[in-house]
Symmetry: C2
């Protein structure tokens, strides 16, 4: 027998959204289903393989009901759900995590107006502190001696300091799935908040990022408020190629692909698959396509832009407005260039995983043009799922740029003309070049597995404890 | 006789907006009047004293008519106006300088939507290059051997490289009146544009800024695209104290002050004087006042917020929208807190210099809370004009923070609650503390004169030429 991997010490994963969510079946019984979101998709299978406890928020009423039963074991996970009072959760999640920290880390604040650090925001910050403290308490309760604790993402920035104080025996690491704000952006926060945030992260043995750029941003920001630089590590997440392959061959995906083939025929397909959110740069992607059709008339009627973009965080006005702009722009472009039998853009806003896989199988060009993105797993999923030697057009501002840029047509995501040129270049690439690039891209994506990624985090958590 | 200052070599000032603007009098004759804007106010008198040629755009039809007469000498200035075709001027001024570079340098881009670097933007960039080239040509024509050339602000970023090539004998410096974009912000521009912009500035013997922070941003950005760091200097502009004193004692100003006194009576006055623009943070200033009235009821009816804010750049939709938000918010706050005989906020959107001086004479607290500002001369003008030992509440993000911060109540401009606290602290300060702080502030402002500032620029222009 081949020697298996090193045995793992007790592992605890901590994230706001957990690997299971609950619903009632027809009989009224609570039934767990696999939770969504990129974090769980990329981390879940490896954790299920290794074994460990996952601590996460109970988000729905059914989640809270399940949480009352204590630790739940299902689908390979051991889940401890944390019940947070809905009002506190809203302050923690909507106001601080999503409307403040997410925008700061992504450089997407409309700084003339936001954030507005007023009394209400201060209440929300207290909510963020309280939820983080509750998570820390749960870790303290669950973790055996010298357990390994991996805390995930910007919702839980404060755990490191609490755990370093209460349980210095634990080997802890934090992994940030977003970019990290630089010192000038950090100045937006009041000094006490900025310091508490960075100090919270610096309590871990190490802080991890998908890209060296985000690690550098974190280091510079830590230096600016703490006068020290905590240890960091760079470990981009990756997809489970076998899992993607299994999923794309499902009957549902096959059915969606047949429908897509019927709709686009033998035209070339430019595709994108994204949540509708401001960082994804959906508007400029369509503007670039508009410029492509205007300046390279030879592509008219020969290409279809298939956009599967599905709503996200519509509780925030910014997201709702952005969605409306996206839909309006698609109408403008389809009206401007469409001809009988040819709609330039096929827009689908249903959140449908088999449908997304069908698009990834079928594209000739995949547009991944975020203005700033922690990683972007769609680029990787596309590389594995695609069956036409499709070309990746990739933003230099995606975290995956460092790994995948050499095997993609690179763009500055703000440069609409440059993106139109890149689309033209990708559409025009000859068969041999496409095949070579697609193979190299797939190889780059498959070089590491989700299990490798998990192991890198565990190793980082066992860095020597930082001097306090 | 006291020895006068060193004789100046031939001096050429280059800026988009010049020291004179023209209009027709009743007889139809062209009459020059002193031009507006902070640049001319701070630089004009010293240049008039030293003597020199000013090269600037002819902006109005009357300006263009005057330009046809060649170099005009009036009011102590020798002006060469450059006639730019109106469409090209719009591309240069509105699209590139104001809607792109200004927003980039001020970190105020709504990056999910702007800039959109498309075909039209590229045309505008060609316009920017053409206008910069025309300015360079005018300098080449006007400048005698080894003249000193001082180029001002972000409209004219490309002159340095052109002059270094065509007239290496000239001693040139560039002075940036805004903050300077950092490397992450610079990545928004296409590589060729970013490089041309930084290379344009790096052609000067030195680049000057109001604050060491902006110089550091420029150095980092230059390093990121040019792999070298051009010489910089830090020389904050200052006000002409004698001139402010003369102006504030004018009959017009006295009349405005009498009207203001009648309106506010013996109430305390919080004041602000600003152009309505996104960097000035007018909304959060009013939100802070709203929080002050909500949380410290003792100030209700005892204080009036006198806001002289006047429209600016209303050709840009962002500015028009911001003005509407400002006016709506003032209505909300006056409705919420107003009582018979007391309007909490007196808003005046007339651009009236004597009126502004009256407010500066009368304030008890001056609120200067920009989110990002090259310098902010209002803080200095207030220190000189004020007659009530008024307290300055100053943003840490204003360029003047480095010089004046020690003599002000400091705020993080994003922190509405912190600003409310600062207003309370400033209103509550006892007489002795106010007098001491006001005197120290005045002294700091008067330490240097506009002539000193001009001399610093001239000295910087005589730095050894940079290696090319």
């Amino acid at each position: 027998m081949v020697p298996s991997r090193m045995p793992q010490p007790e592992l605890i994963i901590v994230s706001n959204r957990g690997p299971l969510s609950f619903a009632h079946d027809d009989s009224g019984a609570l039934v767990p289903t696999r939770g969504g979101g990129g974090l769980v998709t990329s981390l879940g299978p490896a954790v299920a393989e290794v074994g460990g406890t996952w601590i996460a928020s109970a988000i729905t009423d059914a989640d809270r009901e399940a949480a009352a039963q204590g630790v739940v074991e299902a689908q390979g996970f051991r889940l401890r759900s944390l019940v947070v009072e809905p009002d506190a959760y809203r302050l923690f999640y909507d106001v601080v995590a999503n409307a403040t920290l997410w925008f700061l880390h992504h450089n997407l604040m409309d700084l003339a107006r936001r954030p507005r650090i007023d009394r209400r925001w201060r209440e929300a910050w207290e909510g963020y502190r309280a939820v983080n403290a509750a998570f820390a308490e749960a870790v303290v309760e669950e973790a055996g001696d010298s357990a390994t604790v991996l805390v995930h993402d910007y919702h839980l920035s404060l755990l490191g300091a609490a755990l370093a104080e209460k349980r210095p025996d634990l080997a802890t690491a934090h992994f940030h799935h977003t970019p990290f704000v630089e010192p000038t952006g950090l100045r937006v926060l009041p000094d006490d908040v900025a310091t508490e945030l960075l100090d919270g992260l610096a309590g871990h043995r190490a802080c991890g990022f998908h890209s060296a750029r985000w690690a550098a941003g974190f280091e510079a920001s830590a230096r600016s408020v703490l006068d020290r630089v905590p240890p960091t590590f760079v470990a981009p997440a990756t997809v489970d190629a076998d899992e993607v392959t299994r999923a794309k061959e499902s009957p549902d995906a096959a059915q969606r692909l047949a429908a897509l083939d019927a709709a686009v025929g033998d035209r070339m397909v430019i595709a994108r698959v994204d949540r509708i959110e401001l960082s994804k740069n959906i508007l400029r992607g369509f503007h670039a396509y508009d410029e492509l059709l205007a300046t390279r008339p030879e592509w008219r009627e020969r290409v279809v832009f298939v956009a599967r973009v599905y709503p996200s965080r519509e509780g925030l006005a910014e997201y709702l407005a952005y969605r409306q702009e996206v839909e309006a722009l698609v109408d403008v472009i389809n009206d401007r260039w469409g001809r009988p039998g040819w709609a330039p853009i096929l827009l689908d806003t249903a959140d449908d995983f088999p449908g997304s896989l069908a698009v990834l199988r079928r594209y000739d060009v995949l547009l991944v043009n975020p203005v700033r993105d922690g990683l972007n797993l769609v680029a990787s999923e596309g590389a594995v799922a695609n069956e036409r030697d499709g070309v990746l057009v990739l933003s230099s501002e995606a975290g995956s740029w460092a790994e995948l840029g050499p095997f993609a047509v690179g763009i500055n995501p703000f440069d609409v003309s440059g993106t139109a040129e890149a689309l033209d270049e990708a559409l025009s690439m000859d068969r041999a070049a496409r095949a070579g690039q697609a193979a190299a891209l797939r190889q780059a994506v498959c070089r590491r597995t989700p299990r490798d990624w998990l192991d890198e985090q565990v190793r980082a958590a066992h860095t020597a404890p930082p001097a306090r």
